[in-house]
Every structure is written in C-alpha cells, then in structure tokens.
C-alpha cells in the first residue's frame, strides 16, 4: 500500500519536475479560425525576425483571452476594436486616445488596425450585384423586389436588421434562415442578399461581394493586437513584430486566408507562414501528434488523480473515523461534483491562469468525491468484529490502518480511483478550452473547422484511453487484491 503511494509521489514529481525552457513571447488566440490564423501570423512573423513565439491556440472566448493577457499568461492576442470598447472596456463611444489610456492603466497596449475589420455586413453574388449595379447598402433601396434571407439572430437584434432597415430606409421584407444555408440559398438564387461577417471565408469561395456600409451603421470592428506594455522591456523585438503587422492584412487577404483554412483544409501555421513568406514549420505526422497529445492528456489525468489520491485518501479515512464530520466532508465533495464541469474549468482561470494548471486543479476537484466516498465506504464496510479484533489485539492505530483496514477496503477504494480516472479521461478533453492541450485540442479544432476527421482524432483516442484505464485498473485490482480475499470471495 505504502509503496504504491510513494510510487505516485515519484511519478508526480517526475511529471511536474522538468523546468520550462525560457521563451521570448507568448501569443494567444480565441476559439475561431481567424483568431488562430492571426496568432499563427504573429508566430511566423516572429520567426522571420528571429523571435521565438509560443502560440497558445484557441484558448476560449473574449473574457478568457482578456484575463490571460491581464494576468500575463500570454503577451498578446488579436482583438477587435468594437469588442474592446463595448464588451471589455464598456466605453462604446471612447476615442482612440481614451482607449489607449484605459488600456495603459491596465498595463496593456494596442496596435493600429491590422488593415481589415470584421463586422456585420451584407453580401450578394458578384454577378447579380454587378448586373443590378449595387455596390453599397444605399443602392439596395432602388430594388424593393430583392429577396433578403437573414440569420435569425441578426433578424432580431436591434443593431441588426431593424436598425439597418431604419438607417437606410430599406423597403424589402426579410426572411430568417440558418446562416450556413444562406450561402447555398444565394448560390441557387433563392435569396439575393444575406448578412455575413465581412471576412467570412465563404465570400471569395462563393464569389460574393460585401456591400459598402456607406452610412456607417455597423460599428467599427478593426482587427488589432492587444499586448502587454512590459513587452517593450522583456521582448522589444516581438513588439516590433506586432507593429510590423499594422496595415498589412486587408479584408480580402483575410478572407482568402480564412478560406484556405476553412474551405481548403490547410493548416493555420502553413497558411500563416505562406502569407509572411517564411517556410512553414514541419507539421508533425498524425501518429506523432496523437502521441504528444496522449502525453499531455495522461499528464492532466495522472497529476490530477495523483494529487486527488493524496488528499482524498486521508479525507476518506478521516470521514470513516469521525462519522459526524465525515458526513460534512462527503457532502462538500458531493457538492463539488454537481458543479458543471465547464464552469469549474473557467473558475480555475483566475486562480491558476490558463494552460495545464487550472485544468489539473479542476480535474483534481472532480476526482475527490469518488475516492473519498469509496475510501469511506470501504473502511466502514469492514465487518465490525474484524475492526474490533484488530483493536483488541493491541495493534497500534497506524498498523491497524495500513495492515488491516486499508487492505480490507482496498477493493472498494480502487473502484473509486478507477471511477475517478475514467471520468477524468473524459472530462480532461474540456481542458483544451483553457489551453491545457490533450485530446480535447483536435476535438475543439475539429468542431471549429467542421472537420469530422479531426474531431475523431481526439475523440477516438480519448475513448480508447478511457477503456485502457478501465481495463488497467481492473488488472491492477486483481493483482493488488490479497490472495486471501480472493479465496474468501470464492468460498
């Protein structure tokens, strides 16, 4: 028993031990294609300038990136000025100077626009627009018979269709439809105009034109990099790299980059490298990728489970020894289990930043209950006369625990660890949402790119690993169960 525990401790130190290599800068990206491409462009541009940049890909939504930047987990990420003003600073009417000042107070800086904006827009097929002579939104007023098919959300939002209609005095009626269907509807001529984001990959792919927002109804969503001001001291070259990207990417270029990734299925790193004009880093083969993610995933599961074992085992013993306090311990760990896992992962960010640590912390919390509960159940399930005999023999409490009670509770206890491990393997895939890597990474990317193969590249190994863990524990359980107990079970 004790040897097993020491084994865990050694394993943990081995996994946590290796110091991280010195890095010059870290860029983060949100969980959508354009953001990831911009992150990769920063990496490629950095490599061109001889700066080593680490990219923490698709960390999550705006809030997570913003906080990661504030906490210093990342040094920069691509953001849109509209989001910055409205959501993050909550000063929708702030001037550029006011924005810069508000950022500076937080130790952050902002580049000038990268050269494009990604905002709501209206699009039409090129041929149709040319035929009708439509270039701007105002031009639509002259063609009341045009059929508008708009995404349902856009149709409802005050800053969507109702606002546009009023601002331009548009005479048409609009029907709601699914955004992905809209492109096909345009193609078939079922509709003439739809709403889109101005850098959507589908724009060049379906030969669409974006109508000019000539009355400036839609807010400005210029793409910029936000960065930490301390970069100027820590990695001035990287700051130069970011500034070099100002004005370099126009909307058309961005659309093409998006299309190459989303529609032509090239890797973001390759597309970015090609754009910057450097050779792309050699992409690793599928086997190597899966191997690396397996390592990451096992580290997440192993470390969290090991730590949980070190905490939950004594807690379970304590709960069995002190029934009344034990009930409180069991209830508390039970409550932890009821928290939605996604929420727990996100709650860990303020405490542990982004990456593997918050994921391990969240998985740790999830592992507690099964182990505490089963340790408690195993110990309290030992027949009373055996517990009493151990006491009456005059065995010291430690000997009683290690030589009698834990071996007798071992089966139940291991079943708890197994449950925790299997749950962990599945839940750890969520770790990718906060930059922890593992099998969740391809799943997340696959969902973003609507790429089933990529989703399976994460989902299949995760399922296999869960089965392997389950089977491994069953073998381990058989090996660890003392022969006497197996005989007793058969008798």
């Amino acid at each position: 028993m004790r040897r097993v525990l020491w084994g865990w401790v050694l394993l943990l130190t081995a996994l946590v031990g290796p110091a991280r290599a010195a890095e010059q800068a870290t860029v983060g990206s949100k969980n959508f294609t354009e953001a990831v491409i911009l992150g990769e462009i920063a990496v490629a541009q950095g490599r061109k300038a001889g700066v080593e940049v680490t990219h923490k890909r698709q960390l999550g939504g705006t809030r997570i990136l913003w906080r990661a930047l504030e906490e210093g987990d990342i040094d920069a990420y691509a953001e849109y000025t509209g989001t910055l003003k409205q959501e993050l600073l909550q000063q929708p009417d702030a001037s550029d100077a006011q924005v810069a000042a508000a950022l500076a107070r937080r130790g952050l800086g902002i580049t000038r626009s990268l050269g494009f904006q990604n905002t709501y827009a209206f699009g039409m097929r090129q041929t149709r627009a040319q035929a009708l002579g439509i270039r701007t939104l105002s031009d639509l007023t002259a063609h009341p018979s045009l059929k508008l098919g708009l995404s349902n959300e856009f149709l409802q939002r005050a800053d969507g269709w109702p606002g546009v209609r009023k601002a331009y005095g548009l005479p048409q009626q609009a029907n709601g439809l699914d955004h992905d269907l809209a492109y096909r509807a345009l193609q078939s001529g079922a509709i003439d105009v739809t709403d889109l984001y101005s850098t959507d990959a589908e724009i060049p792919y379906y030969h669409l034109v974006v109508l000019d927002d000539d009355r400036h109804f839609f807010p400005d969503y210029q793409a910029v990099f936000l960065y930490r001001l301390d970069l100027a001291q820590r990695a001035p070259e990287f700051l130069q790299v970011l500034k070099k990207l100002q004005g370099r990417i126009d909307a058309d270029t961005m659309r093409h980059l998006n299309a190459q990734v989303k529609l032509e299925h090239h890797g973001e790193a390759q597309v970015a490298a090609q754009f910057v004009g450097v050779t792309a880093p050699q992409g690793s083969g599928r086997a190597a990728r899966i191997l690396r993610r397996t390592g990451e995933h096992l580290a997440l599961v192993g470390i969290s489970l090991g730590c949980a074992l070190l905490v939950a085992l004594p807690l379970g013993v304590f709960a069995a020894r002190r029934p009344r306090l034990g009930q409180i311990v069991l209830s508390l760990t039970g409550v932890l289990q009821t928290l939605p896992s996604l929420a727990v992962f996100v709650f860990m960010i303020p405490l542990f930043g982004i990456g593997a640590r918050p994921a391990i912390a969240a998985l740790f919390l999830y592992s507690l209950l099964p182990i505490v509960r089963n340790t408690h159940a195993g110990l309290t399930g030992i027949p009373r006369d055996l517990r009493e005999t151990a006491a009456a023999l005059g065995l010291p409490p430690r000997t009683r625990l290690w030589r009698v009670e834990l071996p007798l509770a071992l089966r139940t206890l291991l079943a708890g660890v197994k449950t925790a491990a299997v749950i962990n393997v599945g839940t750890a895939t969520l770790g990718a949402l906060i930059g922890a890597g593992g099998y969740g990474q391809p799943i997340l990317t696959g969902i973003r790119l609507d790429n089933l193969g990529m989703i399976l590249e994460g989902a299949v190994p995760a399922a296999v690993l869960a089965l392997v863990v389950q089977g491994g524990f069953e073998v381990f359980e058989r090996v660890m169960t003392p022969r006497g107990l197996r005989l007793a079970a058969r008798a």
């Binding site: 055996l386 009493e388 005059g394 065995l395 000997t399 009698v404 006497g484």
Partner: protein, 249 residues
C-alpha cells in the same frame, strides 16, 4: 484466597434507554478460568468487551491488575490480554502465519523469534504446521479457532478472553476442542474469561461461573455452588435446563 485481576465496580451501561448493565460489581480471579453465562441479552458479552476496552461503562469503573482501564494506557493493557471470538476473528487477507505474527512484527520481533514462537504454539494448540501458509478461507471452523488461539497467545499474555469461542462448531469438533482447551488452560495457568451460552461447557471448562440476567450478576461460584445453593429459582431453572439422552427415552 486468589487475587482478583479484573474488578468491576458499579459498572452501568445503557443502550439508548435500555440498561445493558446495571451497577455490576464483579471480581475475576487471577490464574483461574471464569465463565460468564446467562440468557441472551443478560450482558455477559458486554462485560467481556469492557474488560478489553471495546465498550466503556457509562458509570462505574473497570480495573485490570489494579489499574483502571483507560484509553491512554489501553494499548499496553491490551497486549497483556489475548482475545478470541467466534470463528477466531481472523483477518481474511493475511495468511495464518501473518495473522498470528502481525503484532509481534509491529513490536519488532526477529524472524527467528517469531518462527520459533509459532512452532511452539502450533504444537500447543495442535495446529498442523503446514497450515501456517494457508489463508483463513482455506481452513475448517475448528482450525480457525485454533489459529485464533495461537494469535491470542503469541505474546504470552497473562490473560485470555474468549467470546463464544466454540459457538459455530459442529458437535464433534466442539467436543474435541473443549477437551483440548481444558487441558490447555490447566497447562498454561493463565487467567481465562469466557462467554458461553452452554452451561455444560461452562461447567466443564471453568472453575468459576458467573450467572447473569438482565444486566446484573445473579450468582457467582462453582457449578456445584450454583446447583446446590442457588440464590433463586431462576438459577436452578437455568442450571438444569439441559436435555440429556435419557430425556428422549
């Protein structure tokens, strides 16, 4: 007059509102065998369990060898007492040898010393030495009982407590073990306290009987005392409630 090794003074124990023991005074003689007898629920097991600190009195005091039984000194006191329950109370995950040697190992006995002591005790309790490597699940009821005895005697304690030691055995094995135990107790000269519901067994094994009823000691004395000079009709009824083969004829 033999010295008393256990002494209960005004010992009371309640389970909820029911009284399991009602101000029991009891002296147990050193170096002799005492049997606690009585109907179910009389409190005889409670008394035995109090002698080794598995239960504690709500009022009154239990003294062992002149010292009150206390939680602080319990570990040392328990090591001077051997304890055997029905079926031996063996740990199913440990071999016979490990069951018997567990405490001795904890106390740092050498391998040789343990092996030698085990050999002695196996002979004494008529346990075939080849059973030492087996697990409890591989033993018969009588063999388990012998292992329980070996384990209890490992440190050569001056006192042996037995709670219904032969309760679960078939008649032939039980008879055989009764004979051997009687010899063993006489040979060892230890203080033995045993609980049994079988009057004949008590009379056969013990020098002194303690008859209990409803949480009180009704009468203490030799079997003859209880039969010849019973304190009340219940004592007579209890002592004579035995069937013999003649009854059947």
């Amino acid at each position: 007059m033999p010295m008393s090794i256990f002494s209960l003074q005004r010992v009371t124990r309640r389970y909820g509102s029911a009284e399991a023991l009602d101000a029991v005074d009891l002296e147990i003689d050193q170096g002799r065998t005492t049997a606690l007898i009585g109907p179910s629920g009389a409190g005889k097991s409670s008394v035995l369990r109090m002698l080794i600190g598995l239960e504690w009195p709500d009022a009154g005091e239990v003294r062992f060898d002149g010292q009150p039984l206390e939680r602080d000194t319990l570990l040392a006191q328990r090591r001077r007492i051997g304890y055997v329950i029905q079926e031996g109370g063996l740990f199913p995950h440990l071999s016979v040898r490990d069951n018997a040697a567990l405490l001795a190992r904890t106390l740092g006995w050498s391998k040789d010393r343990i092996a030698q002591r085990l050999e002695e005790l196996a002979a004494l309790c008529q346990l075939p030495p080849d059973l030492l490597a087996r697990f409890p699940a591989e033993l018969s009821g009588g063999q388990r009982q012998r292992v329980g005895l070996v384990r209890a005697l490992m440190l050569d304690p001056p006192v042996l407590l037995l709670d219904e030691p032969l309760g679960a055995l078939d008649p032939i094995v039980r008879h055989e073990l009764q004979t051997q135990m009687r010899t063993l107790f006489a040979q060892l000269g230890k203080t033995v306290v045993l609980v049994t519901h079988d009057v004949a067994e008590a009379a056969y094994l013990a020098d002194t009987l303690v008859l209990m009823r409803d949480g009180r000691v009704l009468q203490q004395g030799t079997a003859r005392d209880l039969v010849d000079t019973p304190v009340d009709e219940f004592v007579t009824a209890f002592m004579t409630a035995q069937r013999t083969l003649e009854d059947a004829a």
